[in-house]
Symmetry: C2
Subunit: 255 residues, 2 copies
DNA sequence: TATTTTGTTCGTCGACAACGAACGCATATG
DNA sequence: CATATGCGTTCGTTGTCGACGAACAAAATA
């Protein structure tokens, strides 16, 4: 569970993925830069990269090492691993077209929320919310919708693991305010994010519950404060989201 | 370049990815099964998997080890790495809606064709053509469209590397027949796949050329023989594809 | 032509990947 | 209720190979 200096072994696996993540973060890199950045000998990096090239996961493109499309296969696989993920996709598209805003389906992993499907509607605001990106559960509408339906011990575990990082002035700063919010979410059935992660950006989220009573994910819609705040739009969106989640829940159970 | 017994080193990286690929192929697996399948000691597999779990790339889900959504992040990254890939996506969607068939954008990597974007239209036939899947260049419309515009040496290198695996009776079996086809593709500007990979499935493909004169990918449309064969549909589809490719080429160069 | 900076090859060494055996913990089977 | 079988996990040991530094090659810069 603890990140640094973990248990027994497997340093080389760690360096392998440190390399891969560095290639992603830098959008490709040259050998020497990688060695400097990771504090490894050039020859070590060379050796590792050559192996990854042989395996087809990395390729050299005009002097830069780059991640290859083999990762696309793995990514597409994990995205289709659970039936709920597949079934959610068309719903996200529909949410985006019907609201005109940005719609997304998230799920929880390792105590964080992960975007599994995103789609921008006609007027959607640009935001760095690419598929695969992770968010904290306490500062996103989709995350809170999920978190609210975890058993209390699990909520505590999530906070213990990740804390409550402040992203804007509106981010929940204390457990008390977060727990109050979660209680309200359970009562009314949907969550709200009022600029708790990005200034001016509001979102509404609803959980998608699995057959065993634990949430399998959440739908959410995000847009600029002034549009999301409008009463009629808000109500319509909430209804739309609740209906969508309900549809998916039925699809998951019977089909 | 040679797969087995490669050069110096890096056995553990290889086993790491063998594990990952086995988890993908088996759609999750238990420890003992993995150890048996890969011929490793249980303790070794346990050690490696624990490391991957710590790193967040693998998770344990009711007794099964499964690949985690961290791979989705890497997959989404490589899919957006080149601008051409991003720009191609809406075109694929449009192709699918306009033709009603299955449309796809592929690119070449390691001498194979990889699906980067796929979309099924209204009447699209089901086929296992998920994003990230690889095809041979000689037996797919999109692949041949790319292959035709490689310099001859590179074509030879591809055939040397991968051979000409037969998928149906119509797959090109000899270099001569393949080269004839490629010549025809260059002349008329588009490629055809007449049930060369799946019986009854026809496809049309066009290359997308990069600024340096090498193909960066291809668009293709696939459907059942009887529909794709109809003269009017064929001509319309070819025009549509050629126009789409041309648009993308302009977008890549100026924007 | 020198000089710097890159990627690559190679010999050496100590850490650690891989092993086998033993343990704990379930779920079957008598 | 014992007994047995299967699983995942822990642990000591060993030989391999990951990591290093230095030397080389190749390309870019001066």
């Amino acid at each position: 569970m603890s990140n640094p200096a973990d248990s027994r072994s497997v340093k080389s696996t760690r360096t392998t993925f440190r390399l891969i993540e560095a290639l992603e973060a830098n959008d490709g890199a040259r050998l020497t830069d990688l060695a400097d950045e990771l504090g490894l000998a050039k020859s070590t990096v060379h050796q590792q990269l050559s192996a990854l090239v042989d395996l087809g996961y990395v390729l050299k493109e005009d002097g830069q090492y780059q991640l290859g499309l083999k990762f696309l296969d793995l990514g597409a696989y994990v995205r289709t691993r659970k039936r709920a993920y597949n079934l959610a996709e068309p719903h996200v598209e529909q949410l985006a077209t019907e609201t005109g805003e940005r719609a997304q389906f998230m799920t929880e992993e390792h105590g964080q929320a992960v975007y599994v499907h995103t789609k921008q509607g006609e007027h959607a605001v640009k935001a760095d919310r690419r598929v695969g990106k992770r968010r904290y559960l306490h500062s996103s509408a989709g995350g809170k919708a999920i978190l609210a339906h975890f058993p209390e011990a699990r909520i505590e575990a999530v906070i213990d693991r990740w804390g409550l990082p402040q992203e804007t002035d509106n981010t929940h700063a204390t457990r008390e305010s977060l727990f109050e919010d979660l209680e309200a979410i359970r009562e009314r059935g949907y969550s709200m994010n009022k600029a708790e992660s990005i200034s001016g950006l509001w979102s509404v989220g609803v959980p998608v519950m699995g057959p065993e009573g634990t949430p399998v994910g959440s739908f959410s819609v995000s847009g600029p404060r002034h549009r999301m705040k409008a009463e009629q739009f808000h109500e319509e969106t909430v209804d739309l989201l609740l209906g969508t989640a309900n549809e998916l829940e039925l699809n998951i159970e019977y089909s």
